[in-house]
């Protein structure tokens, strides 16, 4: 449906390099990356607010690279909502409808319809300054939906709202997408990506690092950055030192630390990674089957949304997710000596791209 092909764009001190991806009809496509990665610039270039220096954008097979913003009919919702402060909620939602020449009763009918869709019908006479963050965000969504965009472009739409509201708005976005609306959504939050995306592109430093389904990217990150951004923090450069017939491999992180893992029989340099959930901490030496067992000391322990995150120095920095109960039972505080263990099967080796 939308195909971005090798788009390059220099903007102030920043540049996009060879941006390519495809978004299908009805897809919920997310651009995931840190602040300053170029995600918003990609979104605005798709919207037509910036012309690419090179590369092409196709929509339903038609080259739209040099077509104006209005002709594209792609609606954009900004992080700061960009609702018009001098207009009421009604005036905001009516704005794109008036541009289409809709007036009178038909205008009223359509404004009400879109306001009801995002639950702001009771706020039509209010000005944005008198609304809560969530209400303003809904107004911005209603206004953009009112133009019946061919693609809905969302620029970090949930980053300024609180957790409860975020969950409500996610449901709303999901239902909008379920009705057949194609969405491209920019975010730096991988949880948001897991919650909404069907496909995503990982963006870093003005480049696309990886494109694929959520499962492909979160299970097989192809770069250090993609892995870091997929929420895997136990991530280390490593080199294979020994490879056995069954695939069990020893990789070396540094002069003293070696880790067992399974690989597909390749030699050379790469990265190993394993999730924080797969790391078990204990105060006594574990006797289970885990091949990777290290002695270490808790350096830091801090709360997460669910449970705690412990940082252990075991000759390398390991992160482990623990429950409040375990932390209390084992007395996990900074300085305490612990055993760190994780299975070879939980470690993934990613060969460095040549």
């Amino acid at each position: 449906m939308l195909r971005v092909e090798g788009v390059c764009k220099k903007f102030q001190d920043f540049s996009l390099n060879q941006i390519s991806f495809t978004v299908d009809q009805g897809d919920y496509f997310m651009l995931l990356g840190p602040s300053g990665a170029g995600k918003s610039l990609i979104l605005e270039t798709i919207a037509g607010l910036h012309k690419p220096d090179s590369g092409k954008i196709f929509f339903q097979g038609v080259d739209i690279t040099h077509i104006g913003v209005r002709e594209r009919n792609f609606g954009i919702v900004y992080q700061d909502y960009a609702v018009f402060p001098h207009l009421t909620v009604y005036g905001n939602i009516a704005y794109p409808l008036r541009r289409k020449g809709i007036r009178g009763k038909e205008l009223h009918k359509q404004v009400t319809r879109f306001a009801e869709r995002v639950s702001v019908a009771h706020l039509l006479a209010r000005h944005p300054q008198t609304l809560s963050g969530g209400e303003v965000q809904r107004t911005a969504l209603a206004r953009t939906l009112a133009m019946e965009p061919r693609i809905l472009l969302l620029d970090e739409p949930l980053s300024s709202v609180d957790v409860k509201l975020r969950s409500e708005l996610r449901s709303l976005l999901r239902s909008i997408n379920s009705s057949g609306q194609t969405v491209i959504h920019v975010t730096h939050d991988y949880e948001e990506t897991l919650a909404l995306a069907s496909h995503l592109a990982v963006v870093n430093g003005g480049c696309i690092e990886q494109v694929g389904s959520v499962q492909e990217i979160f299970q097989n990150p192809r770069s250090e950055f993609a892995a870091m951004f997929a929420g895997v923090h136990n991530f280390y450069p490593a080199s294979i030192v020994e490879f056995s017939e069954h695939g069990l491999t020893t990789v070396r992180l540094n002069d003293t630390i070696a880790i067992c893992c399974y690989t597909e029989g390749c030699n050379g340099e790469g990265f190993v990674c394993f999730s924080e959930e797969s790391v078990i901490l204990s105060t006594e030496k574990p006797h289970q089957s885990a091949l990777n067992v290290f002695r270490g000391r808790v350096v830091e322990i801090f709360p997460q949304r669910f449970g705690l995150m412990a940082v252990v120095d075991a000759g390398f920095r390991v992160l482990s997710k623990v429950t409040w109960e375990s932390a209390s039972r084992f007395g996990l505080t900074p300085g305490v000596e612990v055993w760190v263990s994780f299975k070879a099967s939980s470690v993934r080796f990613i060969p460095r791209a040549s």
């Binding site: 605005e44 919207a47 037509g48 607010l49 913003v69 209005r70 009919n73 792609f74 609606g75 954009i76 900004y78 700061d80 960009a82 018009f84 402060p85 001098h86 704005y95 794109p96 541009r99 289409k100 206004r143 953009t144 133009m147």
Partner: protein, 268 residues
């Protein structure tokens, strides 16, 4: 003082010194004007207000300044918008040119305008064949007033447009609005307060202009020229009532327009 109490901000010797120095400046502005008003007998004010020549000159100052402001606003406001929104080569030079009338002596500005509107000037050559003489006419006065006062409108409007978030305009563009629609439905309504403030400043500055106007048109006589003439011909005693009346009219118009712009922006 309210902030001082609310915020618990400590009032130091520096603040007292700053307040005293500031007070001197306020006194410097208010004292001469107040002194002139107090020393002018009400009887002479009433008599002066009844003079046809005085009424005509004040009315001429007001309507010509108003007309100059409205006509030149059509040129200045779009320019201010462009300056706020776009960067282009030699933009600083353009901004410098706009401020030029503020820094050059107004009598010199009057000479320059006269060169433009005289029968052999660039503009005069265009209007003369049509039977329109600009020198010594309200139109000539309006041009002289506008010459010295356009920077006030352009700068205020430019600052106002610059404060309108560009994202709102980008959003409007993506919602199907054309650039001209964006200007009238987003930029202008949001920058309205600054634009009106600029209009008020331009009007007030134009209405009180003497130096440039006197060179372009001694007659018909605008109020500042009449004050000067009365002072030169009859002395301080006869100039004062006209000056007080004109200050009164200027202040009244100024306050009304300020109030209108404030109410307007409150509703926006």
């Amino acid at each position: 003082m309210r902030r001082l109490l609310v915020g618990g901000y400590r009032f130091s010797w520096f603040h007292i010194a700053a307040a005293l120095l500031g007070g001197v400046v306020l006194l410097f502005i208010v004292a001469p004007i107040l002194g002139m008003i107090i020393s002018t007998p009400a009887k002479s004010l009433i008599e002066t207000a009844a003079e046809q020549e005085v009424v005509r000159s004040i009315w001429l100052s007001v309507w010509v300044a108003m007309a100059a402001t409205l006509v030149f606003a059509l040129f200045c406001i779009p320019l201010a918008y462009l300056l706020a929104r776009f960067d282009f080569p030699f933009k600083r030079l353009v901004l410098g040119i706009i401020d030029l009338p503020i820094v050059i002596p107004h009598s010199a500005a009057g000479i320059a305008v006269l060169g433009l509107i005289a029968r052999d000037g660039l503009l005069g050559r265009l209007t003369s064949p049509l039977g329109i003489e600009l020198v010594g006419s309200p139109a000539g006065i309006a041009i002289a007033m506008a010459f010295v006062s356009v920077p006030f409108l352009i700068n205020a409007a430019r600052e106002g447009f610059a404060l309108v978030p560009e994202r709102l305009e980008k959003a409007a563009l993506s919602l199907g609005a054309s650039p001209i629609t964006i200007f009238f439905t987003v930029a202008l309504p949001l920058a309205w307060r600054s634009v009106v403030s600029g209009l008020v400043m331009m009007f007030a500055r134009g209405m009180s202009e003497f130096g440039a106007v006197v060179i372009v048109a001694y007659h018909p006589m605008v109020a500042p020229v009449l004050i000067f003439e009365r002072f030169g011909a009859f002395g301080l005693k006869y100039a004062k009532p006209v000056a007080v009346l004109f200050i009164g009219v200027s202040l009244t118009v100024f306050i009304i327009m300020r109030l209108l712009s404030r109410n307007r922006s409150n509703h926006a």
